[in-house]
């Protein structure tokens, strides 16, 4: 790491009487999971690098309630949502970016019914806009010409119809993008959604993440690109189960861009 990360909190901004351009919603995985923290840091580096004036909620952030809602606990979800909306509205937040498609979907689609209205972007959409505005340079670097397949997160793709932003970023990295048989609208889930991440799967003849990883491996990629910390975990586990971790890496697109720029 070349220089220390600059990650101010909303409280600090408030104390200075300033308002950031965007709030970075880190999410639970991004805050606590060791693998996902690397994605968080890579994205924060990119924001620093592009000179984006952003802040995080820090210790004031809490679970959006997505896993509770999908598990059927509407009470807990709405409690979380209303508390979060109070914090967000207290800071007069207008725009949010997040590295987790589950947080993205919940904040964007399910908070408005409870009074929380924000412009919410997934980090791949935000990075794309930075790139288009010329604030962020995305170049191939070490990924140039590498075979890479992209796994569509359900809550970015089918749930919100965003298939192109991550692919455009990958194309800017000058990779050889190879699609899996089931991709975009017909992309196969990694197996983590709907609170499955937090429980053992039901009885079956295979784990969903293994099924998905096998399909990814068929494309003979050197990297499986992801846009969700949970997909990342599931597919990393799949790659390990198939004993391919020596030849195939699972990386978030933010990590790839940060890596390519040697940040």
């Amino acid at each position: 790491m070349s220089e220390a990360l600059k990650v101010p909190t909303m409280a600090e901004y408030m104390a200075q009487g300033k308002q950031p351009e965007v709030l970075f919603w880190v999410g639970c995985a991004g805050s606590f999971d060791d693998r996902a923290k690397k994605i968080t840091k890579a994205f924060a580096k990119l924001l620093n690098n592009a000179g984006v004036d952003f802040a995080v909620l820090g210790t004031e952030e809490s679970c959006t309630g997505d896993p509770a809602k999908r598990a059927g606990n509407e009470f807990l979800f709405q409690m979380q949502a209303m508390m979060n909306i109070q914090v967000l509205d207290g800071y007069e937040i207008k725009k949010i970016v997040t590295t987790c498609p589950h947080c993205f979907n919940t904040l964007k689609n399910e908070y408005p019914d409870l009074g929380g209205n924000y412009e919410v972007m997934h980090h791949t959409q935000f990075l794309k806009s930075l790139m288009n505005e010329g604030r962020l340079k995305v170049e191939g670097g070490k990924f140039k010409g590498k075979r890479i397949t992209f796994h569509d997160p359900c809550y970015l793709g089918r749930a919100n119809n965003e298939y192109e932003a991550p692919r455009e970023l990958l194309q800017k990295l000058e990779v050889e993008l190879v699609e899996m048989k089931r991709c975009k609208t017909r992309g196969l889930c990694c197996g983590a959604g709907g609170a499955q991440m937090f429980k053992e799967p039901e009885k079956g003849n295979k784990d969903i993440n293994v099924e998905r990883t096998e399909e990814a491996i068929e494309t003979q990629p050197s990297i499986i690109a992801a846009g969700c910390p949970f997909c990342n975990t599931m597919i990393t586990d799949g790659v390990k189960a198939k004993e391919k971790e020596a030849s195939i890496q699972v990386m978030d697109i933010a990590e790839m861009i940060a890596n390519a720029a040697d940040l």
């Binding site: 968080t40 896993p67 606990n73 359900c154 709907g194």
Partner: protein, 433 residues
């Protein structure tokens, strides 16, 4: 005496349409057993969906082979039915091919009917082969045993017979063949039959004509008992389908009221409910009456094609969950409840419900909420919403979530994260190397 055929025709027609109407009313009544939904929003988007998805078959062609075959049968069904209008007029008034005075336009119409009849016949044969010889996996899932499997084949046989009767009826119509106007296919069949005496041809023609119209009326009435209702219900179903991003799950208003009360510091937790207050709603669904009218319409619309199940990650990896079965179970239970209402005027508890007696908890908990089933459905059915409603019942009414999820939810409540980490450590990543 000469009016006997006309009267007979009218009686058959009235009985056929009357019985069908009676059953359709029953379907509407059953659907209304569900919770009312407001679909008065986004009218433009809704009509757009009907035109694109239902009329335009936009989602059918995602799978090109069955999509194309279905398009032929669909167009054939709509266009050949123009002929039924002529048959009805002829039948009531004792006329013969009343529209033939239209001249070359009539020839054009009949020619398109005949070509479509052949194409439909061929497509239906291919459908039959896909089901019974190639045995595509989605037609052989466990929920397709018995009646659902036979139902699928019966519909194909019906269509084969109706198309054959239509062509025979035209081929043996001596008068029509003499006109030589539009008999583009039937003239060949007529050619093969040229040695048959005219009197025999007349009998065959009359028999085919009567069987054709009676067959159509039987098929119409068969719809109510089969999975084939989609030919009618697909249109309203698409209209009432979701117009929001798939990721947006419904907000439970009844819960919002409770949560607001909980978060109101001035609320008195021991206050008695005001006079005449409504009893709190049941959260989620354990039976069909708890589902919304849209969800119940979904169940009647499902034609059991299995595209949802073949895209479901849980089903593809051998789990018990099959989104198609969720829809079939919902309809089966709704019909059972409907029969109960027929008998008792109002529903009398029968000791059964949708949960456990039809849909098991194991199925409900296998869902990843990935929306693949919703995306796959060509007629905007949402099996995921039923799964979610039933999970809500399990969690909020029964506290019956799998234990690991109870731990997850406790963590969210206590630590604001699904894992047992302290909220105060949330920003630690910033300073970790």
């Amino acid at each position: 005496m000469q009016y006997i055929p006309n009267i007979l025709f009218l009686v058959i027609l009235i009985f056929g349409i009357g019985y069908f109407t009676k059953n359709i009313r029953k379907i509407i009544r059953n659907i209304k057993l569900g919770q009312a939904v407001d679909a008065s929003d986004n009218k433009g988007q809704r009509w757009n969906n009907v035109i694109r998805i239902a009329l335009g078959q936009s989602k059918m062609v995602v799978r090109p082979i069955p999509g194309l075959l279905h398009l032929i049968v669909y167009l054939g069904f709509i266009i050949i039915n123009i002929e039924v209008l002529e048959i009805i007029i002829d039948g009531i008034f004792g006329t013969h091919r009343i529209f033939s005075s239209l001249g070359s336009f009539y020839g054009f119409l009949i020619a398109s009917f005949e070509i479509l009849a052949v194409l439909v016949f061929v497509s239906v044969i291919v459908f039959w082969i896909r089901r019974n010889i190639i045995r595509l996996k989605r037609f052989w899932n466990p929920e397709m045993k018995g009646w659902p499997k036979n139902d699928g084949n019966f519909i194909l046989y019906f269509e084969m017979v109706l198309m054959t009767l239509f062509l025979i009826m035209n081929a043996t119509d001596v008068h029509f063949q003499e006109m030589n106007n539009g008999n583009i296919v039937s003239k060949y069949i007529a050619g093969w039959m040229s040695v048959t005496p005219e009197s025999t041809l007349y009998i065959i023609e009359r028999v085919a004509w009567w069987l054709h119209i009676v067959g159509i009326l039987i098929f119409l009435n068969y719809l109510y008992f089969s999975k084939h209702l989609h030919i009618i219900l697909a249109f309203p179903n698409v209209y009432f389908g979701s117009v929001t991003p798939k990721g947006k799950f419904t907000n439970l208003e009844s819960v919002t009221n409770e949560v607001k009360l909980m978060m109101d510091p001035s609320a008195d937790p021991y206050a008695a409910p005001p006079e005449g207050a409504e009893t709190p709603a049941k959260f989620g669904a354990s039976d069909v009456m708890d589902l919304t009218t849209t969800q119940l319409l979904n169940a009647y619309t499902c034609t059991e094609c299995g595209r949802c199940t073949s895209e479901c990650p849980a089903n593809q990896t051998g789990k018990k969950l099959s989104p198609r079965k969720i829809m079939m179970d919902t309809r089966d239970r709704l019909e059972e409840v409907g029969k109960n209402v027929d008998k008792n005027v109002e529903f009398q508890p029968d000791g059964k419900q949708l949960l456990d007696d039809y849909i098991s908890r194991e199925e409900l908990w296998a869902c990843t909420t990935c929306n693949a089933c919703v995306e796959a459905c060509p007629v905007s059915i949402d099996p995921l919403s039923i799964i979610m409603s039933m999970r809500q019942y399990l969690v909020m009414e029964q506290s019956a979530a799998p234990n690991e999820l109870n731990i997850t939810m406790t963590n969210i409540e206590n630590n604001a994260a699904p894992w047992p980490f302290n909220q105060m450590d949330r920003a630690n990543w910033i300073n970790e190397s």
